[in-house]
Every structure is written in structure tokens, then in C-alpha cells.
């Protein structure tokens, strides 16, 4: 293709920023997002000169580059203040004063955007709501989370102390969380001394087929939300004839209310590396990607450090531990797009394209990233792998219930005394988990629980006996989703929460398919009408239209985003008998 360019010549500074990531590598199209990040990190926005230079170096048509930059919320084509505070105004933070914080920032710093602060969907710090992430551009860029956040607290970078974890993991966790806060996440030797890499050693010993046998025997189901049997996926990728194969760890964790993957990556990063490495060996992949959301600066640093130490220690790279096998991991940073957690959107994002989901089939195990067979697993799924190899698949399958095996992490937040990540064996009930978290704050009455995140469903206090297993939630027409338990007390304005959920889907829809692109807008608009009482026609007509929009989104959309965009709203109308307006205050 003949490429034509326009716009200003890149300055030396702009070139240096981009060359820093592209180095002298041949132009690989898939480096587009890393290159755009480099410009954003250096200048606080993607300057015209930098964008032009990136297009030239990677041979990307300007229109396409423009499309990619504008797709991601953390990238800007407009000049922005070098320091930007992203303030979460999503569900868990709303019930902990996020709106007050936004008001105060507007007063002190000026309006959203030019005042150096911006609203954000869930930042995955819900257990310490309200949350903020500060991103500072410059020659030495930095990024850090502040939670709980206040107008004062966002000014300084908090100390990183791995032993200060009780706010996130209030209760000991036996199998998945046992290293969190006890073993230094930067120490490979600490990892090895605490039983680390025993799983990989055994995997090397028994070989790929036997590893897949163990994973299948464990009956492990994916923890990313879709609950697909992990063994079946591994087998399909291992068997695929096209080469090379890839492994992707999905660390995009953007489902509102979810923060378990962040806690795992911050507290036990080597376990993620080990799980990915075993997956690589089992599926015949030599290259893995860790796709981590852009709003997780600490997890990113800890994962990067762990990957480097593992490489230095011979646990990654060529001929690892003298096994003759090779596997290495490259980190790709997301840039603010919930949809990129959807596996096929994630492929496009890694390839440097707009994060739009693909039509399936073909499935990732046939044609995934770069069109090659690809295994995609969630962080928590992969952290279960070393455990399965240590215990043996059958022994693992005895943990939990017969259809939901193993330990499970739950993200409990909202109106509970001790929000955080809780590890239980599958089988615990909703009521037990809320009790573990200390019950409803201040001893108030429970009004509702959002299970599974924004894409999940609301259940009422009459559902506390529901076992939080795949089968138990299914029987109750609910969902486990990504393990979210968001509790609301009886003072909560649930209508406001519903509006936020509808706005979330409207803002995060990629816009590719009509039912979701337009349906999410219409759903949000209808909820506003219902709440304000300015109805078009009578209430019954409005509700029927709302249900119809929900139905066309669920059945006709390309991907899971559109298919679940009406789930929480519908469940609120039925399970909670919620119509409109604020709940009566008690």
C-alpha cells in the first residue's frame, strides 16, 4: 500500500519517546498500542508529531491510527494536563461517596478534564472505595492508585508495602491467597521456598498430555465469567494443527466490582507466571501475552518484575530448567476499554487494532491472536493450575462440589463491614460470604446484592441461602460471573445504581453492532425517563419497550457485552420489583 502522510514533522523528543519502545525492531504492526502508550506516557497525550511518526514507522494508515487512539479512554488526541487523576464513580464507589469526591475535585481543581481529573468506570479497587488512579506523564512517568481516595490523598504516591494487605484480603486464604502479604512478591527465592514452581516441575516431568489430563480431571472451570471447562480448551489448542500456538492471560479485569485478579497479581505474581508457563508447555506454545488493564499500575510493575526475575532464574525463556522447552511472556497494557476483556476484542487489541470483538466461530482455539490457535485464560484460572499439578487433578476435584470444583475467590464490596477478596471452597452460600465480610455495614438491613458484576443480576435478601456455585446460581437464574458480590443496604438509591450500570454499557459498547450500540443508549434513556417520571405514553408501554430493547440486545448482539447489557436492569425490575425513583428512605 502506498502510504501518504501529513501533519507536522516529529520533534526529536517525540521520536525518542516512540523509538524507546520500537527500538530498531522491524516494523511490527502489533506494536501500535505500545507505541501510542509511549507517546501518552511522555506527553500526557498523543501529539500529532508522535502519531505521524508512529504511522510512518509501523506503516499504519493515518485513519486507522486515528480510529485506534480514539477507541481507548486512556489515550487522548487533545492536549491534557500531564497529571490526570482517574476517579471511579462506578457502583461500589458511588455508595462510598464517589460523587462527593468528584464535586470536591471540581471545586478545588476545576472542571473534569482540564482540572486534571476525570471520571472513570470501576478501577478494580472496590474494596477500598472510593478509588482513584493517578497517571503522571513526563520523562519519568509514574502511575499509582489511591484508595480510599480523597482530595488530599491523591496528591502523594502512597508507600507500597506488600505486608499491608489486610484491607484487601481480610481473612486468611488457604490455597490461592496463602502467599499474599506473607511472601515478598518481588522475591523469586521467597516464591520457591513457599512451594512455588513445584507445579511446573511436575508438569515438565509428566509432559503435556498428562498435564492436560490432570487439568481435565480437576474439572476446573474458567474463572473469567464464561465458566468454560479449562481442560477442554487446553486440549483443543494443543491439538490444533496450525502453528505457532499462543497463550494469553486475560488480566483486563474491568467488570465493575471485580478486583481478585489485581490482588493475585500484586500479591503473588510468580504464581501467575507459573500458571502461564504450564499452560504454554501443555498447549505447545512458546509465546505468551499477559494483557493487563491500563489502570493497574502496581500489578503491572509487580508482574513485570516477576517475569524478569523468572527469566533471570531460568524459569522463562529458552530451555527452561534444562527441559528443552521454551516459553516466554510479553506484557501488553490495555488502554481503558472494558470490551478488551472479551477474548476476541483482546486479540484485536494486541494486534494493534480497535478493540472490537470478532464474530465466532472461528473460536480462539482455531484462529485467535494473529489468526493462530490461542489459549485465553483468566488470571485466577491460571493461578489454580500450579495447585492442580501439586495436588493432582482428582484430589483437586474433591474440593468444592461435584460440578464446581476447587477454591474460589469472591470480590465482596459495597455495604459490608470488611470488603475484600475472600477465598472459600465452592459451596459456600451468599449469606455465608456476606457474614464473612462482617455483614451489612452498621447492622443495617440488606436491600439487594449484585451478583457477577454489571453484567450480572440483582438478587434480593430472600436469596441468601443460594449456594455460590455454577449450578446453584444457575438454578436461581443468577450468575457467578467473575465472582462479584456487591451488597446494598436499605438506604441505597438503587435507581441511581441502575442508571450507572446502563451508562457503563452505553460508554463501553464498542459500537460495532447495531443492537448494542443503539440499544444501550436507548436503555439508559428509558431508565432516565422512568426515574424522572417524564414518560412517553403509559408506564406499561415504557416497560414493554425496555424489555424489548433488552431482548434484541441479548439475542442479536455480536458479543457478551451486548448480550448481558440488560441483565442487571431486567433482574432489578423482576427480582427487586424496582420500578423507578429512589427507594423510600427508612
Amino acid at each position: 500500500m502506498d502510504l501518504h502522510f501529513q501533519g507536522p514533522e516529529a520533534s526529536a523528543e517525540e521520536r525518542a519517546a516512540v523509538d524507546g519502545v520500537l527500538r530498531d525492531q522491524p516494523a511490527h504492526r502489533d506494536l501500535l498500542l505500545p507505541a501510542l502508550h509511549a507517546a501518552q506516557d511522555r506527553f500526557g497525550w498523543v501529539t500529532p508529531g508522535a502519531l505521524d511518526y508512529i504511522c510512518r514507522r509501523l506503516s499504519v494508515p493515518p485513519a486507522e491510527a486515528h480510529g485506534v487512539v480514539t477507541f481507548y479512554h486512556l489515550l487522548s488526541l487533545e492536549p491534557m494536563p500531564a497529571a490526570m487523576t482517574h476517579v471511579c464513580d462506578d457502583i461500589a464507589c458511588r455508595v462510598q461517596g464517589a460523587e462527593r469526591l468528584c464535586d470536591e475535585l471540581a471545586r478545588r481543581l476545576g472542571p473534569e478534564g482540564e482540572g486534571g481529573w476525570k471520571r472513570s468506570p470501576c478501577l478494580g479497587l472496590c474494596e477500598r472505595a472510593p478509588a482513584a488512579v493517578v497517571i503522571r506523564a513526563g520523562a519519568a512517568p509514574s502511575a499509582f492508585a489511591v484508595a480510599p481516595a480523597s482530595a488530599e490523598a491523591i496528591a502523594t504516591e502512597p508507600e507500597e508495602d506488600f505486608t499491608a494487605f489486610r484491607r484487601s484480603v481480610p481473612r486468611e486464604g488457604g490455597r490461592l491467597l496463602h502467599r499474599i502479604g506473607r511472601v515478598d512478591p518481588s522475591s523469586l527465592s521467597g516464591y520457591l521456598e513457599s512451594g512455588g514452581y513445584a507445579g511446573l516441575r511436575r508438569a515438565i516431568e509428566i509432559g503435556p498430555a498428562a498435564v492436560i489430563g490432570e487439568v481435565s480431571a480437576s474439572k476446573l472451570m474458567g474463572r473469567g465469567g464464561a465458566a468454560f471447562p479449562t481442560g477442554r480448551k487446553w486440549e483443543a489448542v494443543a491439538r490444533a494443527s496450525a502453528r505457532p500456538h499462543y497463550v494469553i492471560c486475560n488480566a483486563d479485569e474491568s467488570e465493575p466490582g471485580t478486583f481478585k485478579d489485581r490482588v493475585l497479581m500484586e500479591g503473588d505474581p510468580f504464581a501467575v507466571v507459573e500458571g502461564m508457563t504450564i499452560a504454554g508447555l501443555a498447549t505447545g506454545s512458546e509465546r505468551g501475552f499477559l494483557y493487563i488493564r491500563g489502570e493497574y499500575p502496581l500489578a503491572l510493575r509487580r508482574m513485570a518484575a516477576a517475569i524478569e526475575s523468572a527469566r533471570a532464574g531460568g524459569w522463562l525463556g529458552r530451555d527452561l530448567q534444562g527441559s528443552g522447552l521454551s516459553f516466554d511472556i510479553e506484557i501488553r497494557r490495555g488502554a481503558g476499554a472494558y470490551i478488551c476483556g472479551e477474548e476476541t476484542a483482546l486479540f484485536n487489541s494486541i494486534e494493534g487494532k480497535r478493540g472490537e470483538p470478532r464474530n465466532k466461530p472461528p473460536f480462539p482455539s482455531e484462529a485467535g491472536v494473529f489468526g493462530k490457535p490461542t489459549l485465553v485464560n483468566n488470571v485466577e484460572t491460571l493461578v489454580n493450575i500450579p495447585l492442580i499439578l501439586r495436588l493432582g487433578g482428582e484430589a483437586y476435584a474433591k474440593i468444592g462440589t461435584s460440578a464446581s470444583t476447587g477454591p474460589k475467590l469472591f470480590c465482596v464490596s459495597g455495604h459490608v463491614e470488611r470488603p475484600g477478596v475472600y477465598e472459600v471452597d465452592f459451596g459456600a452460600t451468599l449469606g455465608e460470604l456476606i457474614a464473612m465480610a462482617g455483614g451489612v455495614t452498621g447492622g443495617r438491613r440488606l436491600r439487594a446484592v449484585l451478583l457477577g458484576g454489571a453484567a450480572g443480576v440483582f438478587v434480593g435478601p430472600d436469596q441468601l441461602a443460594m449456594p455460590l456455585t455454577f449450578e446453584g446460581t444457575r438454578a436461581a437464574a443468577a450468575t457467578l460471573g467473575s465472582g462479584v458480590i456487591l451488597a446494598f443496604d436499605d438506604s441505597t438509591d438503587l435507581g441511581d445504581i441502575l442508571l450507572r450500570i446502563a451508562a457503563f454499557f452505553r460508554d463501553e459498547s464498542c459500537g460495532q453492532c447495531v443492537p448494542c450500540r443503539v440499544g444501550t443508549v436507548r436503555q439508559a434513556e428509558l431508565l432516565h425517563r422512568l426515574r424522572s417520571g417524564c414518560l412517553i405514553g403509559d408506564l406499561a408501554t415504557e416497560l414493554a419497550l425496555l424489555r424489548e430493547i433488552g431482548q434484541v440486545m441479548r439475542d442479536a448482539s455480536i458479543c457478551g457485552l451486548g448480550q448481558t447489557a440488560s441483565s442487571a436492569v431486567e433482574s432489578a425490575l423482576t427480582a427487586l420489583e424496582l420500578l423507578a425513583g429512589p427507594e423510600p428512605r427508612s
Binding site: 480510529g67 459498547s509 439475542d555
Partner: protein, 241 residues
Amino acid sequence: MSVHTLRIDEKDVSARAGQTILEAASENGISIPTLCHLEGLSNVGACRLCLVEVAVVGGGTRLAAACVTAAAEEMVIQTDTDRLREYRKMIVELLFAERNHVCSVCVANNHCELQEMAVSQGVDHVRYDYLEPRCDVDLSHPRFGLDHNRCILCTRCVRACDEVEGAHTWDVSGRGTLSRVVTDLNAPWGASETCTSCGKCVMACPTGALFHQSSTVSEMIHERTRLSFLVDAREKKQWHA
């Protein structure tokens, strides 16, 4: 085995390996509504009008977009059920009210695929307020014009320009309902350095979003068949009809 036999609307049909349900249907005289599909371009499955019901083993059906779903052995497909008609109507309705479609003053009046779709699907009224987003008109190109008010984001222009002309002047910027087609770095079309002024995007556009500037309404015929001729010609290296 390179030929599949399947059933579409109670009719036994055969499909070559790699053919989509849409292709198999149309070769057998069964028409399925489409909007984002254009002969000669890749398929994206975005408008969802071509949804069909595919029988699932064990009972029930699943919905699949015919333009991106491969025909397979023993598939049993329905293309025109009550449920599908209902969804198609709703999709057309959603599209109509997304931007500003006032057919009577549109350059594409009577030559518009969206308008035809509304007629064929029996959409006679729209139950939504028009969203009336702020949409601009770009008349900077000497020969062509772009009116975002009429754009349905089908990306046919993007694909025609990239896949047929090889210029990649167009792409989609933003996301969700704020998406807009853009030329180059969102510069005015007339200032585009990649555009060859070939007019293929205009030919590909199903609505009045892209148009010939001097055209009166009656001249506004998109010559879509010419585009597939061009693709054909490129593939066969034959440049005469």
C-alpha cells in the same frame, strides 16, 4: 468433502466448502435482508439484519448472522420466522432513530437501502425520539460529500476504500454511539492526502451519507453493482465488462 447439503426454509440446498449461509441462500434464490454486507467486500456481521435461526441438536434454535456464518453439513435454517421479523424491525427502528433521517430531503431518497429495508420489513413508525446527535456535513471534497446525519456505521466505505482501492482513507473513530467515520486523521475529506477521488466509497454507501456533490436526487444512484464489477475485475485482471 467439499460440498455440504443443508436445509434452508424447508428447501434442500447445497453449498461449497467455505460458503456462508448468505451465499448458499442467495445462490438458491432465497433472499435474506442485509445492510452491512456488500458483494465483493469482506463481511463484518455488524448490522445483524441477516440473522437467521439455526436448529440446535437437542431442540431449539440459535441465531446466527448469515453473512459471517459458514454453511455446514446438515444445518437446518429458517430465514423468515416471526421472531426474526420482529428483531429485524427493531434493528431498523433503532437505526432510524439513531441519527437524523429525514428521507424527503435526503439526496438518497428512493435510492436508499435503509429506506428500502424499512419498507420491506414493514417499519411504518419509530417508537423512539430521534436522538438527534450533533452531526456535521463535510463538503470539502471537490466532488463528494459526507453527511454524518445519514451514516449508519455499516463500514462499507471503510472496506471499499481499503480492500478495493487500497487507500484506507476511511476508518471509524471513537466508540459506541459516539463513533464516526473519519478520513485520515479526522481532517476534512478535501484535505485528505490518501484519497484518490476514485468514488468507490460513495458507490458502496447504502444511504445518503456519502454522495456526489453535484448530484440531484434522481441522479443519486450508487451504482453498487459497479463496485462488485471492480472487485471482480481486480481478481480476474480483466478490466472490461
